[in-house]
Symmetry: C2
């Protein structure tokens, strides 16, 4: 990669002369312009994009910071961001915070120094627990707008895209009640996340609206044998005739475990979960799922950020967009 | 974010004076150094990292380019890269090529301009089909080393980390033959990828080593109902007593479909697949899996690249590392 400096040295002129010649400045003589351009073409000289972007303050690149790449939902949001950004002529660069506040800060710093025009991010778990927001505010005040999705920092004034987690499980539970189910259990391995808590509250609200019904909650820990736990839970509580699963695996496992115990699904037990489309095929019958539209969330976030970047001068009010979940009914419910 | 220029303007001195003062140059008077430093501290001036890195030619950052973020194997490799790089004091930034040659080229360009010291990448499908390698060679000749993993370009001289896909299915099929299985089928939805082809060849070799056995292959297309296809395949071929699944879903679906058809697993049929640990729980009995050690692949790639970055002056020969798969036996095989 040849630099301006090397071109200047070889031609025995100043760097600024080379630069001006390449930009057809009238200050430079025709002959010099020709010599500079010929040599630049010979060496296939390309202006350094990063240096250029530092000058122009526009990179047409979006920084994305996600907490966990193994989470399929987050990977799908990233996919949605990427697709929409590409459509609108933007590139994306991604950093992974690995749920760490420190890494989140570092990622913001690395990318804020001229690599990107703005950010789309999902807040790291540690950041949520410690409730730190200064690094977000500092980034925004540097002129780099942020759009947060899914896990957001409510104290930061910025655009947001969120999911109706509470409503989703509330409506799903109501659906099972409408099937006349009497003993509906809630199974979750995401108790600790804000979204997991919202999902549990939605379930609890629907159940407790009925005076004769009680909550029944199975919490799966990371070290647990997911399969064994669910199976023995269903065995110990044979009266369970409905399951709301808060994560992407528990619903599938609940169907398979019930069948293994000799139950018929959905005759004896209905199951609703949060699985992705691909995973919903892992159970016979296929799992009725609450679809979060991860790609739509990503597309919305990209669209909001790019809109803001292209209208920075208008200083528009920040917005929060709610992407509604939908219930995809298959044969694991009546 | 205050710049050198703004500091210079406010102090009514030249930019170069500010820069020299901040670097304690002896050319600048003590009083000026003090004034510059005070104002810089007041405005919380930080030298622009990207500009600095352009100068110093070291970013301690690795660029990662992956073709598809929805592929769980690739996401896990990325996780492994990130963890190892962090341990060794490097950051990573990721671009997604979306299986497109054009996006792969663009990603290399965006990051090659001073943002990273080198690359770890998995070649996009389109790049493999068109067999284009110039953009890789150009990057390497610019002084930015590349480590390729999984899908690699054999014509490019660079470090590589690959999986023993052929051996993996060869040995798995041999395992089913040792169980005295007579009719072993191969189910795959990755026929088009190089790794899918290697896996099929491994299966075929093991089968054809027996004069009395024939190949039986079910190919799943993207638009197919995966569940229905597998179920009707098993129904039409009731003599199947063993299944080798080449992708992350077919093994799980084969177990569930067999049970749905009234078969006992593994008594009537053994199944081996490529699922991740989490997904292997989606079947009862749990799926016997060929584990690819995605995180180990990522860690190896990071380790190789960083070793090369830290020993550029030695100009060492390129290496290819093979990460062996292992067979995790559970109760879907005898």
């Amino acid at each position: 990669m040849v630099t301006l400096k090397q071109l200047a040295k070889e031609l025995n002129v100043s760097i600024s002369t080379v630069s001006k010649a390449l930009n057809n400045s009238e200050e430079i003589g025709e002959e010099t312009v020709r010599r500079v351009k010929e040599l630049a073409a010979l060496y296939n000289y390309k202006p350094n994009k990063v240096a250029l972007s530092l000058k122009q303050n526009k990179t047409k690149t979006i920084g994305v910071i996600i907490p966990n790449i193994l989470n399929h939902f987050l990977a799908k949001v990233l996919f949605g961001i990427e697709r929409e950004a590409t459509k609108l002529g933007y590139n994306i660069i991604t950093c992974i915070s690995n749920e760490s506040l420190e890494k989140e800060k570092e990622s913001l710093q690395i990318l804020a120094n001229g690599s990107v025009d703005g950010f789309i991010l999902c807040v790291a778990e540690e950041t949520q627990i410690k409730n730190e927001v200064d690094h977000f505010r500092r980034t925004i005040s540097q002129g780099l707008p942020i759009v947060m999705f899914d896990r957001v920092a409510h104290d930061v004034m910025c655009d947001k895209v969120i999911v109706d987690d509470f409503d989703a499980t509330y409506r799903a539970t109501k659906g099972l009640l409408a099937e006349n189910r009497k003993r509906i259990a809630f199974i979750s391995n995401v108790d600790k996340l804000s979204v997991g808590k919202l999902r549990e509250r939605g379930y609890a609200k629907a159940i407790l609206e009925n005076h004769d019904m009680e909550l029944l909650h199975l919490s799966i820990k990371k070290k647990d044998d997911h399969q064994k736990k669910v199976k023995s839970f269903l065995k110990k509580n044979p009266e369970i005739d409905g399951v709301i699963a808060a994560d992407s695996s528990s619903g599938i496992i609940a169907i398979n475990a019930a069948i293994n115990l000799g139950k018929k699904v959905p005759r004896d037990m209905s199951v609703i979960g949060f699985a992705s489309k691909g995973d919903s095929y892992h159970a016979f019958p296929k799992l009725t799922t609450i679809r979060q539209h991860a790609k739509v969330i990503g597309a919305n976030a990209a669209e909001m950020l790019i809109h803001r970047l292209q209208n920075m001068h208008l200083n528009e009010d920040v917005k929060t967009k709610i992407v509604k979940t939908s219930l995809i009914k298959t044969k694991s419910t009546l």
